[in-house]
Amino acid sequence: MKSRFIVTPILCTGCRTCELACSFTHAKDGKVGRSRIYPLAGGFKDLYVPVVCLQCEDPACVKSCLVDAIHFNENTGAYEINPEICVRCMACVAACPFGCSLFDPQQNLVIKCDLCGGDPACAHFCPTKALTYKPIAV
C-alpha cells in the first residue's frame, strides 16, 4: 500500500521527540545516528516546523550525485543514499536547497531521510500528530 508522509507545522510543539526517534532508529554498530529531521523555529510565536526531506520530484541531491548513489525506493517513496556507493564528496549536502542531505560525523556517512524503509519512526513517536504517514487511496 502506498503511503504519504505529511508534516503539519501548526501541530508541532518543538518537543524534538522526532529527532530522538530518528537518531535511535538509525543507530549502527552501537553508534546512534544523526537525526534527519529538525523541528526549527518557524518565525512566529510558538510555531515550529519539522524540517525534513520532502522527497522532491527531480531532486537536487540526485542531480548532484556524480556516482549515482541516491536511488528512489518505489515501495516507500523515499530517495535513499546507498552508503556503499557514496564517496562522501558532499555535493548533495551542498546542493539540497532545504538542507536535508547532511553529514553524520559520528558514523562518517552522508545521510538523508529514508522514511525508515517504510515505517517512519518520527511519525510513530510524534505526540501531537504533526508528523503522520498515511496510506493514500490510489
Binding site: P9, V51, S64, L66, V67, E84, C86, C89
Partner: protein
C-alpha cells in the same frame, strides 16, 4: 534468485551479482582493499580471493577474486580454508614489505598473524598499495584528474606530469576513500590543499562556515544544473531558512479559511 553454498550454509543470491557482495551481505569478513561499490571491480589487491567449486567439478577447485566473480546457481564457496589464509598471509606479507609503516596494512596483517615482513622492505616506502581506487573514483566522478604513472617499481599515483592537476576540483573523493589514507589534504580556513593544488572553499552566507570548493560548485552548476545560489548557504542555514519559509505558509494557510 539462485542458491549458493557459503562455508556449508545455503544462501540466496541474485544471478550474476558479484560474489563479494553476497559475502558482505552474509557478514563474512573478507579483506577487500581495492573494492568500492561506486566503481567497477578491478581485482588489484587480491585479498578477496576465495575458493570455489561445483558438484559436477568432481573435487576440482579454483581460487577466484570474489570482487570480480559473478555468482551462478549451485556454486560452492569456502572463504577461510588453510590455503586461503596462507595466501592472504603471503599477500599481506608482501604489502608489509611495500608499506611497512602503514597502520591500515599493519592492522590487517596482524589479524592474519603477520607482524613483520619476511621480504626485503622497499627502500623508500609510502602508504600507497597501488590499488587504483582513487583514480577509478576520480574517473567515475568525471574528472580523471589523477592516474598511475611509471611502471614497475617506480609506479605511483600522481597528477599528470606531477604538476598540480588542472582537472581536479578538490572534491576529496579520492582521499576519503583511499584504503590506506595515503592521499593527504588540508583544509585551513577557506583554503583546501590537495595534490599540491590550492582551492577556495565557498562559505555559508549566514555563518561563514566553509562548504565545498568553488570549482566543485561551478562544475555542479554547469554540468548538473544546480542553480548557483543553492551554494550560498550550507545545510544548516538552509534548514533554518526552510523552517521560516514553511512557517509563513503554515500561518498563512491557518488564517485563510479553507
Amino acid at each position: 534468485m539462485i542458491t549458493v553454498t557459503i562455508n556449508g550454509k545455503l544462501v540466496r543470491a541474485k544471478e550474476g551479482e558479484m560474489l563479494l557482495a553476497v559475502l558482505r551481505r552474509e557478514k563474512i569478513d573478507i579483506p577487500a582493499l581495492c573494492h568500492h561499490e561506486a566503481v567497477e571491480p578491478y581485482g588489484a589487491c587480491r585479498l578477496c580471493m576465495v575458493e570455489i567449486t561445483r558438484k559436477e567439478w568432481d573435487g576440482w577447485k579454483n581460487m577466484v577474486t570474489s570482487c570480480l566473480y559473478p555468482v551462478a546457481d549451485g556454486l560452492i564457496i569456502q572463504t577461510h580454508t588453510t590455503d586461503l589464509i596462507e595466501l592472504r598471509k603471503t599477500i599481506l606479507d608482501l604489502y608489509l614489505a611495500r608499506c611497512p609503516n602503514t597502520p591500515e596494512i599493519q592492522d590487517l596483517a596482524a589479524q592474519y598473524g603477520v607482524n613483520q615482513t619476511s621480504y626485503e622492505q622497499v627502500a623508500d616506502p609510502n602508504d600507497c598499495i597501488l590499488c587504483g581506487l582513487c583514480t577509478r573514483i576520480c574517473d567515475r566522478m568525471g574528472f580523471s584528474a589523477i592516474s598511475a604513472v611509471n611502471r614497475g617499481h617506480g609506479r605511483e599515483i600522481a597528477p599528470p606530469l606531477k604538476n598540480a592537476p588542472p582537472d581536479c576540483v578538490g572534491c576529496l573523493a579520492c582521499a576519503l576513500n583511499c584504503p590506506t589514507n595515503y592521499i593527504k589534504f588540508k583544509d585551513i580556513g577557506y583554503t583546501r590543499e590537495i595534490w599540491g593544488r590550492k582551492f577556495e572553499l565557498l562559505r555559508d552566507a549566514k555563518t561563514g562556515q566553509p562548504t565545498i570548493t568553488k570549482e566543485f560548485a561551478e562544475y555542479l552548476s554547469k554540468h548538473r544544473n544546480i542553480p548557483q545560489d543553492y551554494f550560498e548557504l550550507n545545510d544548516e542555514s538552509h534548514r533554518k531558512e526552510t523552517a521560516l519559509n514553511l512557517g509563513k505558509i503554515a500561518i498563512w494557510s491557518r488564517e485563510v479559511p479553507q
